[in-house]
Amino acid sequence: MRFNGEWLSCDDGIVRPAIRGEILADDGSWKTFEFLVDTGADRTVFSAVTLAKLRLQPLTAQEGISGLGGSADSVIVETQIRLTRETSSKVVFRGQYAAVTQLDSLDIDVLGRDITGLFSAIVDQPGDVVCLLGQRHRYTIEHV
C-alpha cells in the first residue's frame, strides 16, 4: 500500500511535504484538503478553515493543543479521512480528530502519527519523494 504526496509550495515560499486527502463533511460529502506530513505531530489536527468547510459539530472542547507557539484552543470531531492509494482506490480512516478554532493557530491540516504511524513515512526533499508505505510496500537504503 502506497500513498503518494508531494512537496507543496506554501505562502512563505517554503516547500513542505504534503499528501492530498478527503475528509467527510457533516452533509455526507467528501471535501478535499492538503495535509502536512508532520512526523513530529502526535495527532492529526484540522485547521479552523477546514473545520468551517466541514461544518462538523464538535463532540467536546479539548483543553488545548500545544506546539512551539504555545497552546491553541481546539475541539474534537468524529469523522473519516480518506487517502488515495497507488492503485487509485481509497482507504478510509475513521476516528476522532482535533481541530483548532482560531485561524491564526494553524494554516494547514496536519497528518499526525495517529495515521502516519501506521506506515513507513518517507519525507525526502532531495529525492523529491513524499509517501506513506505499508503492507507489501517496503523501502531499502543503499550505499551508492
Binding site: 505562502d11 517554503i14 492530498r20 478535499t32 492538503e34 513530529g40 468547510k53 506546539g67 487509485s88 478510509v92
Partner: protein, 89 residues
Amino acid sequence: MEEVTDPEELAKARAQDERFARNSAWLQAHIPEVYSRYRGKCICIAGEELFVADTPEEVIAMAEAAHPEDDGSLIRYIPKEKMARIYAV
C-alpha cells in the same frame, strides 16, 4: 482502516480529485500575487477563480454561489506574517 472498492464511488472521487487538482494548480501558478496581497485573509479557489474574505464562512459562501458545481474547491488561511514555522502539534 478500510478500502473503498465501489467503482461508482471511486469514479466520483476521481472526478473531484481532478477538479481539486485544477484549483490547486491555479493557486500554485499565482502564489506570489495571492500570498503577498491577501495576508490575514481566507482564500478559496473554485472553478479556477480566486475568492477572498475575512472569514472561512464568507469565502466558502462566495465560492459556492459562483461555482456550485465545483466540489473540488480549495480553501486556505494565509497567515498574517511570513515566518519560519514549526508545527508538531
